[in-house]
């Protein structure tokens, strides 16, 4: 049962060829581009989404931080579309792979830290010591703040992986249980099926998770580059 449950999280290869490459690149192929003023619904919808994201996310940044606009918008669209496509049955969700999430989290977090150090060295270092701490506590607090800084990329990656994996596992388990229940007692199966529906709807807020991802990234960026 263990093997069966985790089988959907193995990186897919078809006869030795790494199909995972095509699966990761698939959402980017669905983004359209057009030069017209009025385009078709699909493209208008994408334009609307990009505009909404830009307005929501970039309003709290200084002009220097707004140079990250393209990066953050593409990040949120990438993770959102990947998560949503993974909700279809029998699909492989790349964001369940810890490798990919680490590969996204570490470079982006490192970028924000280095940018903060380059532009505002003193205020970045000052974040390590909150105002008004009593003097004997200072060494310990610096150590704690350093640890909390270095744990940020790990938390970003593991949070995304764990949430998506747990959601998919739950759907597998409850779906299997409902299937078995229909032969035993249909009313119980009905109740379980309704709960699956509710679970799926809540899981559709996996998109909300990418909100969380980018917001957390955003927060760390915001803390470093400000007062410009």
């Amino acid at each position: 049962m263990n093997e069966n449950l985790f089988a959907s999280f193995i990186t897919p290869t078809m006869m030795g060829l790494p199909v995972v490459i095509i699966i990761i690149m698939l959402p980017s192929m669905m983004l359209t581009s057009s030069n017209r003023l009025l385009s078709n619904r699909f493209h208008t919808f994408q334009q609307w989404v990009v505009k909404m994201i830009t307005k929501q996310m970039m309003s709290i940044h200084s002009p220097k931080g707004q140079t990250w606009c393209l990066m953050l918008v593409s990040l949120i669209i990438f993770i959102g579309s990947t998560n949503l496509l993974g909700l279809l049955p029998h699909t492989f969700t790349p964001t369940t792979q810890l490798s990919m999430n680490l590969g996204m989290a570490i470079p982006l977090w490192a970028g924000t830290v280095f940018l903060g150090f380059r532009h505002k060295m003193k205020s970045t270092l000052a974040h390590f010591l909150p105002q008004g701490t009593p003097i004997p506590l200072i060494p310990m607090l610096i150590i704690i703040e350093t640890i909390s800084l270095f744990i940020q990329p790990m938390a970003l990656a593991v949070r995304l992986t764990a949430n998506i994996t747990a959601g998919h596992l739950l759907m597998h388990l409850i779906g299997g249980a409902t299937l078995v229940l229909t032969s035993i007692s249909p009313p119980t199966a009905m109740i379980t099926f309704i709960s699956i529906l509710v679970l799926l709807t809540i899981l559709e807020f996996a998109v909300a998770l990418i909100q969380a991802y980018v917001f957390t990234l955003l927060v760390s960026l915001y803390l470093q580059i400000d007062n410009t």
Binding site: T11, I24, M25, M71, F78, L102
Partner: protein
């Protein structure tokens, strides 16, 4: 847990980096958001010549000597 099998990590990380940093950014940067169509400013601004900035009496036609 199959996510901890590091043999596939290189492929996954490489593909996701290329996709995220190159492919998707290219696609999104190709979207353009034109300004709303607005009226063209039809009144052309009248630029004054340097000698018109200073009014001098001698240039008034009635004050010139009669020829």
């Amino acid at each position: 847990m199959p996510q901890l099998d590091t043999s596939t990590w290189f492929t996954t990380v490489l593909t996701s980096t290329i996709t995220l940093f190159i492919l998707i950014q290219l696609k999104i940067s190709l979207q353009n958001f034109p300004n709303k169509p607005s009226n063209k400013y039809l009144k052309t601004l009248k630029l004054s010549n340097p000698w018109e900035l200073k009014w001098t009496k001698i240039f008034s036609p009635l004050s010139l000597p009669l020829q």
